[in-house]
Amino acid sequence: MSFPRKTRVVVVGTGAGGAVAAKELAERGVAVVALETGPRFTADDVDQREETTYPRLYAEGGRRGTRDKSLLIIQGRGLGGSTLHNTGLCFRTPDAIQRLWGLDLHHEIERVERHMGVRPIRDDEVNPMNAVLARGASALGWRHLRANHNRIDCEGCGYCVLGCAYDKKQGMALTYLPRARAAGATLVPGARVERIRRANGTWHVTGFLHEAREGFEVEAEAVVLAAGAIDTPQILLRSGIGGPDVGRSLRLHPSLPVGAIFDEKLRGFRGVPQSVIVTEHASFLESGHGGFLFLPAFGHPGTTALLAPGLGPAHWEVVRAYEHLAVAGVVLHDSTRGRVRPGWLGIERPRIDYWPEAEDQRALREGVRGLARLFFAAGARAVVLPFARAPLVRSEAELGSIESYPFLPHEVAVSSVHPQASCPIGDVLDERGAVRGVEGLVVCDASAFPTSVGVPPQITTAALATRTATMLAERLA
């Protein structure tokens, strides 16, 4: 495969961080080669089928997770990274979090929102399942809001998480990457970076080209790591760079799903997903600490069947109500610190250790109880809890049993779509996003978050990358 083997900056990863870095650097006249381990995945590749999309669009075929798979971590791969498969939900970095981090990202956030076409969801775009969430929150007097999304003239087909077939979701592949390319950046899909090393003032980035089945090496003045909060620390650790704290403070926004069966048909698989957010318990929005969001989280049939508890007829009781189901997740602003390391014996799969600690478990249980109350307030006839031993709950009075279910791996359905903070600013990185004590190496993805951000991280990642890339461009100039 032909691409420049010498450049000024190599960007590793093309998601919400890497695409922004590539564009901001290239538009300032810096020669950029952006390497992406995943393929080029366009609207023409979308078939809206789970079983064929997961292996192509998701890291480790959608099976990435902690070592015992008790906590699945959903990440995208491909030119555009996780913005290929996210729901388009855009949430600004809360002011309290910016204060806690000692960063002012307002200018960068506005710039990112302009480029990505972020706008509020309209009334007529709220589907019946999201409306149920708003109805329950209103009945309880709980704060909730209409979300902002980066979608234009959306058809509302509901398949965002399997890629957008209509190019209506304005992810990185349609916004920042074309601008990066127009400014002269070279984009290389199918290029997995293994290691980086610095010799005689030059960075050497080595890896493997999937299609050509051959190794490669690129030389550069500087390297931007933006491979995501799981892969960036692995590259650093394999390269012996960054010190002992790399990968040791992984946060995940662990999420527990709660389902509810309604008499009315909701058909949650159609329409714009995640248009209503319940913020009543999100204390981090004011204080920077603790609390959780309720986010709608509907799945297609295979995923729903996987998450529905039980087996045989008990399992069927939930799955058969597919059209009548509402599902939302308790998404925690976590304080637990997990760890990510490279795989053993050359196995590509990383070793990820994370299980919510006692305080986070308590908050998650509280969230499950709150979400179940919300669904009953909205008129649910039964609630499906995420605990393996829990039967269907038919009334609010039965929610007291939530405390009795074990919070153990594979006893409770925990997942994450927001890995972050594995190489935090203030710890592994300095305030400019540069790896401490290393010349010409910065991190431009959610790894750099100093703590859990609490909200969907797409905008924060892009804003932080804007800041870091701008400062790098100034230094290179």
Binding site: R40, R49, E51, L79, A182, L311, R320, E323, E348
Partner: protein
């Protein structure tokens, strides 16, 4: 790896047509083929782990009960009772095994179009309506 064991496993995990479930038999060739397609996408170490799991799981009732015997020789109700013990076992490893087999067959079964009418899912949206696609800036394949 015994096909009979996999059929027994699928029929114990998933609802069957004679129990009021969708018309597709979870132990049918179609579902097993879909499961094999998923297994084929696993990385080599996980693929090998899966083979070991499938070879060993037929003997699981001898370990867990409640009725002893090879999984594929038990009635559906007895096989289901064994899997229920696996599901809520005190052993994390055994619960993990349950998660593996349930994930596989839930994905293989409920992604079959023959199942969808029974749950009210009308399938992919592609081609259903004429959609005006925006014209994004082109991204040529490969490096540019």
């Amino acid at each position: 790896m015994s096909i009979a064991t996999l059929r027994a496993l699928a029929r114990a995990l998933i609802i069957n047509p004679d129990e009021g479930g969708p018309p597709l038999d979870p132990g049918s060739d179609e579902v097993l083929a879909a499961a094999f397609e998923i297994v084929k996408t696993l990385p080599r170490d996980e693929y090998l782990g899966c083979e070991v799991l499938f070879r060993g799981i037929r003997w699981l009732p001898l370990l867990l009960g409640p009725r002893r015997g090879r999984l594929d020789k038990l009635s559906r109700a007895d096989a289901r009772a064994t899997l229920e013990r696996l599901r809520v076992s005190r052993s994390r490893l055994l619960r993990y095994l349950f998660f593996c087999v349930k994930s596989l067959f839930a994905m293989a079964y409920f992604t079959r179009p023959a199942v969808w009418p029974a749950i009210g899912y009308d399938g992919p949206y592609l081609g259903r309506v004429a959609v005006t696609r925006l014209s994004p800036p082109p991204l040529a394949s490969g490096p540019v």
